[in-house]
């Protein structure tokens, strides 16, 4: 018999990277929130690589931060090194990546959750949902605790019917030998959700004392202070390096000889693995002409000797893993502390979700993170914060929040998931964003802060600093529009020393800045730059002026796209009543149930004629709707 364990606005199942952002966003918006997790010592645990950020992902972390999320702040406090990537490239593709101190990250995150007044944090395994009249009303745990809730967010990661695979060893488990979530997955299936099976893997960890670093190349962090969060003011200066080594022909020979022992190649695994995160077996088989592959040695923290062997993700038996590791230069005497493994798990087919991440089937139920078929901590956190916002918005009677593809990578991620689905664990890449020149690392605050503030997730203080920053940016741009630079001997001499061609006639400082070889910092002496302007302000001025033409072109494209997004489709439209739409398109439309013509046009298998017909049908006004 169950017992009444309490009443909440929002119940978050799981406290990984999605769960913590979901719980905190909901709580900060004013919803009474319960967070249930299997193990309180594993909050925001990183079961795979010890790093956060990277191309596209690093920009997502900044977007989360500008929306009021915590991932950026916590990694700023707990990293062992940080780098700005792609500094030699354009501003649109630069991104931060930090190596995390895993145990410290957990500790810091737990502290934040524990101190959030609207959150009750509790250990517990959820077995099933309470669903009444098709609406989600709460959860029941294995200890028979029944929690009633207005909304529930499931963020169970790779735990659902998780199965660890290593050689011929196979056992039911969540990542890192934690208990798997079996009954909840069965319950979701009973409730009619379509479930798919994905897999991913992780490499072995070795003991730092047993690595000969002299045979490897050092990979230090940046010397300049960096931070993900726009609020971070204190920087970590004593950074720890990573190290680079390589596999070799001997390594490849061992793998080739033992392929049949790999859980993956012996045909036991049914799940679909991601192409961008292949096991070392995959790499050797698919790219057999490559004489070597990079191996990065990444410390897992300051107070641990475990080192993550990036590049050696494998599901080979433990005994073979020893030989593989020891075939690598610098690792000849390395001791494995944890062996690598593959994990197979249930994921929800994400086209079953609205763009708010609420399930179409069961109102009040949201899902976020790896359960939705994604991969990566950042992708999980991004969905977590959006699910948290939308669950709280629903409870509080506010409008749902859906980011479009021109606003944020988060928008690209969720739109891709709910519109196209995915047939492998989904990872964000810069190439997935059509408008990546607008979705930059440097302007995440400009894109998200206003929204975060309106939702109550950004403090007054931070909002004031944000508006002041962009007031200064606009002011400085105006000043440069008016400032005329004459081609004096001094100016041309200056340009020459800066490696730029001299000026022939007077130009506005604004136009001078458009020259690719000239930057704001470089021109500072001849454009009377105000030294009190912060680097953030001048950086923004420089980028906005230099790429103005391209930014305008992108904005024109966005305007066209938004026109299509503004054409709304009623949620309950009856596609069967529309004559003329092709059968395949009709089936797709019935599954995805797009909310706008724009979204409908992105569904594969729905062609322009179907879209035209849909537009005409909606415009004529007499829309047939599904009986509820």
């Amino acid at each position: 018999m169950t017992y009444d364990a309490g009443h909440y606005d929002v119940v978050v199942v799981g406290a990984g990277h999605a769960g913590v952002e979901a719980g905190l966003a909901a709580a900060k918006m004013g919803a009474k929130t319960l967070m249930l997790t299997l193990n309180l010592d594993m909050i925001a645990f990183m079961p795979c690589n010890p790093s956060i950020g990277g191309p596209a992902k690093g920009i997502v972390v900044r977007e989360i931060d500008a929306l009021g999320g915590v991932m950026g702040k916590v990694i700023d406090k707990t990293h062992i090194q940080m780098r700005l990537l792609n500094t030699g490239k354009g501003p649109a593709v630069q991104a931060l990546r930090a190596q995390a101190d895993k145990p410290l990250y957990i500790k810091e995150m737990k502290k934040i959750i524990e101190n959030e007044k609207n959150i009750t944090l509790r250990q517990g395994m959820v077995d099933r949902l309470i669903v009444e009249d098709g609406v989600c009303k709460g959860v029941i745990t294995e200890t028979n605790a029944a929690y009633s809730a207005k909304t529930v967010i499931i963020t169970t990661g790779t735990f659902m019917r998780g199965k660890v695979l290593m050689g011929d060893l196979e056992y039911e488990s969540g990542p890192n030998n934690q208990r798997p979530t079996i009954k909840l997955s069965e319950n979701l299936e009973e409730l009619g959700f379509e479930i798919t099976r994905f897999k991913t893997g992780t490499p072995p960890r070795v003991n730092s004392h047993t690595i000969d670093y002299s045979k490897t190349e050092i990979q230090p962090g940046d010397e300049d202070p960096r931070s993900f969060s726009y609020e971070t003011t204190e920087y970590i200066t004593d950074q720890i390096p990573c190290w680079l080594t390589y596999t070799n022909e001997f390594t490849h020979q061992i793998i080739n000889e033992n392929l049949s022992l790999s859980a993956m190649y012996s045909g036991m695994k049914r799940g679909t693995g991601p192409r961008y995160c292949p096991s070392i077996e995959d790499k050797i088989v698919r790219f057999n002409d490559k004489p070597r592959h990079q191996i990065f040695l990444e410390p897992e923290g300051r107070d641990t000797e475990e080192v993550y062997v990036q590049g050696l993700s494998t599901s080979l038996p433990e005994s073979i893993q020893h030989s593989i590791v020891r075939s690598v230069e610098g690792l000849e005497n390395a001791e494995i502390m944890r062996a690598g493994y593959a994990i197979e798990y249930d994921a929800i087919v994400p086209t079953q979700l609205w763009p708010t991440l609420e399930t179409k089937k069961i109102p009040g139920l949201f899902t976020a993170g790896q359960i939705n078929g994604t991969s990566g901590y950042e992708e999980a956190a991004a969905q977590g914060i959006m699910a948290g916002i939308n669950a709280a918005a629903k409870v509080l009677g506010k409008d749902p929040v859906i980011l479009d593809r021109s606003q944020a990578y988060i928008g690209v991620l969720i739109d891709d998931l709910v519109t196209k689905g995915t047939n492998e664990p989904y990872r964000l890449l810069t190439s997935r964003a059509e408008y990546r020149l607008l979705l930059r690392h440097d302007n995440a605050d400009l894109r998200m802060t206003e929204l975060g503030y309106k939702l109550g997730l950004i403090s007054e203080e931070r909002y004031a600093a944000f508006t002041e920053k962009y007031r200064l940016v606009e002011e400085e741009k105006k000043r440069l529009q008016k400032l005329v630079i004459k081609p004096s001997t001094e100016v041309n001499a200056f340009l020459e020393t800066a490696g730029a061609s001299p000026m022939k006639e007077a130009v506005k400082a604004y136009d001078l800045l458009k020259r690719p070889e000239l930057s704001y910092d470089l021109l500072a002496p001849i454009i009377d730059a105000d030294p009190s302007l912060s680097h953030e302000v001048t950086e923004q001025v420089g980028i906005q002026i230099k790429y103005e033409g391209y930014i305008k072109k992108a904005n024109d494209q966005v305007a066209r796209m938004l026109k299509m997004e503004e054409k709304k489709i009623p949620e309950d439209i009856d596609y069967d009543a529309i004559s003329g739409i092709a059968t395949e398109a009709k089936e797709k439309l019935k599954t995805v149930r797009p909310l706008s013509i724009g979204q409908a046009s992105r569904i594969s298998g729905v062609n322009p004629a179907d879209i035209s017909i849909l537009v005409v049908y909606i415009e004529q006004g007499n829309i047939s709707r599904l009986a509820n």
Binding site: P203, R286, T430, A554, Q620
Partner: protein, 458 residues
Amino acid sequence: METDTITAISTPIGEGAIAIVRLSGPEAISITANVFKGKNLFDVPSHTIHYGKIMDPETNEIAEEVMISVMRAPKTFTREDVVEINCHGGMVAVNRVLEIILSKGARLAEPGEFTKRAFLHGRIDLSQAEAVMDLIRAKTDKAMSVALKQMDGRLSALIRRLRQDLLETVAHVEVNIDYPEYDDVEEMSHDMMRTKTKEVHQEIVELLQVAKQGKILREGLATAIIGRPNVGKSSLMNTLVQENKAIVTEIPGTTRDIIEEYVSVRGVPLRLVDTAGIRETEDIVEKIGVERSRQVLKESDLILFVLNYNEVLSDEDDKLFQAIQDLDYIVIINKTDLEQKLNLARVEELAAGKPIVTTSLIKEEGINELEEAIAKIFFAGDIDTGDLTYVSNVRHIQLLRQAKQALEDAMEGLELGLPLDIVQIDVTRTWELLGEIIGDTASDSLIDQLFSQFCLGK
């Protein structure tokens, strides 16, 4: 609601009649005025018609003498500003005018789009909604199948190759961005990118030149002449060419060989398929085998099946009748100047209602009847066929021009020394535009390319 201006040729093809290019949208009048020599179209009263000339903006020469009707919103078919440019009949003039209008910023209308706009602006009664949707469906499907069929195999192969080149380049830039530490590929340099864009640019420029010569502009019905050896196929071919004005002679630089493929029969443009094969050797069925010839037949819009009045029906003739039974064809009984050996009743039975014409090509008899039969088949059927066929070609040219422009933007960015990820925006755009030509717009291919070209992972 709609902000752009659309245009299309709105009359069926017909020589002797006029052909009309129609524009609808807020810029209909300004776009036309831009290339019109005559009265100031901004000042003329609504619903009036004016004589003048359409000027080619590139050469500043007269492209066509026209009559222009100006109709201002809302009392028009679409309830937008509408301009109709009345050109001389035939394909070339009207196509040229359409191209000029497109180059000035109008967009080629989607199938059924004028009607759709009329509907959306409330011009058409709500009860007609379903009919409008059916119309769009039908026109779009037809346009798609025609566009695909029309495309020269070599052209689509070339476009595919150019796209693959661009895709590999883009994937290379992307892998540098998404995997900055990945050391298996050298970092893409401005020079590498410059070489690649120049190569592709050159090919697109050449394609556009070819297009100008009319090779791409393959308007007209794909027509196959079939029949056993010595029935008079090549005489028929010669007659059609001699009797009728060859369409592309108006375009300078076209060679005699190509001219002969295009003829206009009473305003019906014909593209004679596999001409050389028929002329030099025997029968295409013999020449390329039954399976291949079936394929050729299937791709034809019209088949001219020639029989010999002086021979009895053979098994082979029966087979040919069978092969074309579901297609549009005309039976031509040739050599009526010789003794009759053909069983006419049997031919009528086999033809099952399809037109039968008797000719003596040597004596130049029956040619008028044949031409009439061709015109009848064409105009009685769905007259959109021809219309859409050449519009799809104009569409190709338009997309090629845009692709060329996008590449030039990329090349400019390279010269300015902009970062490659910025330059790549225009390269990707080029790739997308070329994709629209061959109907491949799947955006996932880049990601697929990325992972098949490079060994990536953690």
